[in-house]
Amino acid sequence: MLQYLVRRLALMVPVAFLVSVAVFSLIHLTPVDPAELILGEERSPEAVIALRHELGLDRPLPDQYVTWISHALRGDLGRSIRTNQPVTKAILERLPATLELGTAALAWSVLLAIPLGTIAALRRGSPIDVLATGFTIAGVSVPNFFIGILLILVLSVDLRLFPPGGYTPLTESIPDNLHRLVLPAITLGTVTTAINTRFTRSSMLEVLRQDYIRTARAKGASWRQVIVGHALKNALIPVVTVVGIQVGAILEGALVTETIFSWPGVGKLAIDSIFGRDYPIIQGIVLMIAFSFMLANLAVDLAYAWLDPRISYA
C-alpha cells in the first residue's frame, strides 16, 4: 500500500507541474494586458510600462513562472485587480459557503441514491426500477440551472415555501441558513444523485451474481442478512469511489447554482471575476479547484485500494 501511495504521488508530480503551467498561462493568454486592465481606461503608456515592471510582466516567462509558483506554494496568489484584496483571502472568505453547499448536496445525494439504487437492483424490471433508471438518465440530462429555476418557480414563487436566493451565515442564524440551503442543495445534488443511483444499482446487480451471495444464501442466511451484510457492503465499494470523484461535479455545479441562488461562494466569485476580468482571482480559483480535484482523485484511489483487497497495485 505504501509503495502504491509513493508511486501514485510520483505520478502526480508531472501532472501537478503541467496543471500549474496551464493555470499560470491563463493570465498570459488573455487578449488584454493585465497592467492595462489594472490601470483602467485613463492610463498613460509610461504608467503601463512602470506597472508591468512592478508586476514582473516584462521578465521572461520562465522567470515569471518560478516567482509565481514559489509565491503560490506559500499561499500568495497575488491580488485582485478589482478590489486589491489578496486572492487567497478572497477565496478563503467564500470557501465556507461553498463547502456547506457542496456537503449538503453530496449528503442528500448519497442518502437518497443508495436506497434507491439498491431497491431498483433488487426489484429489477419492476416499475420502481424503471422509474429509478429513468431518473438516472433524466437527472444527468436536465441542466442544473433548469432544475434550480423550476424549484424557484414552484417552491418559492408559487408556494412561497423557500426563499428564492440569498445566504445567511451559520453563525448568524442556523434555521435561516438551513432554510436558504434547501433549494441550492437539491439543485446541486440532483446530478450526483442520478449518477450515484446508477452506480449503486449496477454495482448491486454485479455483486448479486457473485458466488459468495449464492453460498451465503445456501448456508441459510436470510435475504436481509445477505443484502445488508454481504451484498451492500461490497456493492458500495465502487460507489465510494464515484462519490469521491464527484467533488469535481460539485465544484462545477457550484458555479451555476451559486449564480442562480446568489449564494456567496467561490463559484459566484469565479463568475463575477470572469465578467470583471479579474484574472488573478480566476487563476487562484482554477488552481484551487484543480488541486482539490487531484487530491480527491488520489483519496479515491487510495480508498479503493484499501477497501478492496482483491485489487493489486503492484
Partner: protein, 296 residues
C-alpha cells in the same frame, strides 16, 4: 426487508444475453430503446433542418408593442421581453445547440482519438508524454476548464465550441488508448503484422473497425455532455451572445422574468433537457445493445 426479496434475481442476471446484434435491423428489433431514442434524435435533427418552415416568425425580429405576451395561437410559447416569438427562438435554438455538439465532439474525437491511438500504438515515451498531458487536462473538472478557456479567449459561441472540444479530448484519448492496447496484443493483429501490414494499414483495417462499438456509444454520450456544457456556458453569459437564439442564453434572460412570465425560461429549458436526454438515452441504449457486459 422481506418486501425487497427477489429469489430469482441472480438467475435473471446470469441469463443476460451476451451476443451482439449483427445488423442494424436486428439491433433495432432486439433493442427497441435504441429505435425509440434514435427516433427522438432524428426528430430533433428534422426540427433543426426544417426550422424556417416550422417557426412561423423570425427569431430575431423584435416587436416592442408585443413584448412579454402569454402563449396564444399566434405565439405558442408567447413572446420575450423584446417581443420576439419564443417558439421561433426555441426551434431555431436547435440550429445552434446541435451543430455545436457535433463540432465539439468532432474536435474531441479527432484530436483526442489521434492522441490515444498514437499513445496506445507507439507506447514508450510517446505514451508517457501524451498521457501526462491528458492527465493534466483531466485534473480540471470539465466545466471549470471550459469556463477558464472561455474566460481567456473571451465569451462567444466559437470560443465555447473550442473550449468544449478541448475538454472532450481526454475521454477519447483514454478510450482509444485502452482499446488499442488491448487489441494490438491479439492474434489477428499479430498475424496481420507478420504478413507485412504497415502500421497505418494495421490501424485502419484491423484496429479502428474493432473500436467502433465503444466509440459510437461514447460519441452519443459526449454529444449530450457537449450540449449541456454549451447551454451552461451560454446560461452563464459565456457562450452565445445576443441576438443568437440559444437555449442556454434564453434561459439566462428568462430567469429574470420568472415571477410573471415563467414560460420564457421553461420553453428553452425543456428544449435543452429533451435534446440532452435524447443523446444520453441513445448512448445508454447503445451501450446495452453493443456491449451487454456493461449492462447495468
Amino acid at each position: 426487508m422481506s418486501t425487497v426479496y427477489s429469489p430469482s434475481l441472480p438467475e435473471d442476471v446470469a441469463e443476460t444475453p451476451v451476443s451482439q446484434p449483427t445488423s442494424l435491423r436486428a439491433l433495432l428489433r432486439t433493442y427497441p430503446r435504441v429505435a425509440v431514442a434514435s427516433g427522438l434524435l432524428i426528430l430533433l435533427v428534422l426540427v433543426s433542418v426544417l426550422a424556417p418552415w416550422i417557426a412561423l416568425h423570425d427569431p430575431t425580429a423584435t416587436d416592442a408593442s408585443n413584448a412579454l405576451l402569454g402563449p396564444s395561437a399566434a405565439h405558442p410559447l408567447g413572446t420575450d421581453e423584446l417581443g420576439r416569438d419564443l417558439f421561433a427562438r426555441v426551434i431555431w435554438g436547435s440550429r445552434v445547440s446541435l451543430p455545436i455538439a457535433f463540432v465539439a465532439v468532432a474536435v474531441g474525437l479527432t484530436v483526442g482519438g489521434a492522441i490515444g491511438l498514437t499513445a496506445g500504438y507507439r507506447g514508450g515515451l510517446w505514451d508517457l508524454l501524451l498521457m501526462r498531458v491528458i492527465d493534466a487536462i483531466l485534473a480540471f473538472p470539465a466545466l471549470i476548464l471550459a469556463i477558464a478557456i472561455v474566460a481567456v479567449l473571451g465569451p462567444g459561441l466559437r470560443n465555447a465550441m473550442i473550449a468544449i472540444g478541448i475538454v472532450q479530448l481526454p475521454v477519447y484519448a483514454r478510450l482509444m488508448r485502452a482499446q488499442v492496447l488491448s487489441l494490438k496484443g491479439l492474434d489477428f493483429v499479430a498475424a496481420a503484422r507478420a504478413l507485412g501490414a504497415s502500421p497505418m494499414r494495421l490501424i485502419a483495417r484491423h484496429i479502428l473497425p474493432n473500436l467502433l462499438n465503444p466509440l459510437i456509444v461514447q460519441i452519443s454520450l459526449s454529444a449530450a455532455a457537449a450540449m449541456l456544457a454549451e447551454a451552461t456556458l451560454s446560461f452563464l453569459g459565456l457562450g452565445a451572445q445576443p441576438p443568437t437564439p440559444d437555449w442556454g442564453f434564453m434561459m439566462n434572460t428568462g430567469a429574470q422574468f420568472l415571477n410573471n412570465d415563467p414560460w420564457l425560461a421553461l420553453g428553452p429549458g425543456l428544449a435543452i433537457s429533451i435534446a440532452v436526454f435524447a443523446f444520453n438515452w441513445l448512448g445508454d441504449a447503445l451501450r446495452d445493445a453493443l456491449d451487454p457486459r456493461l449492462r447495468g
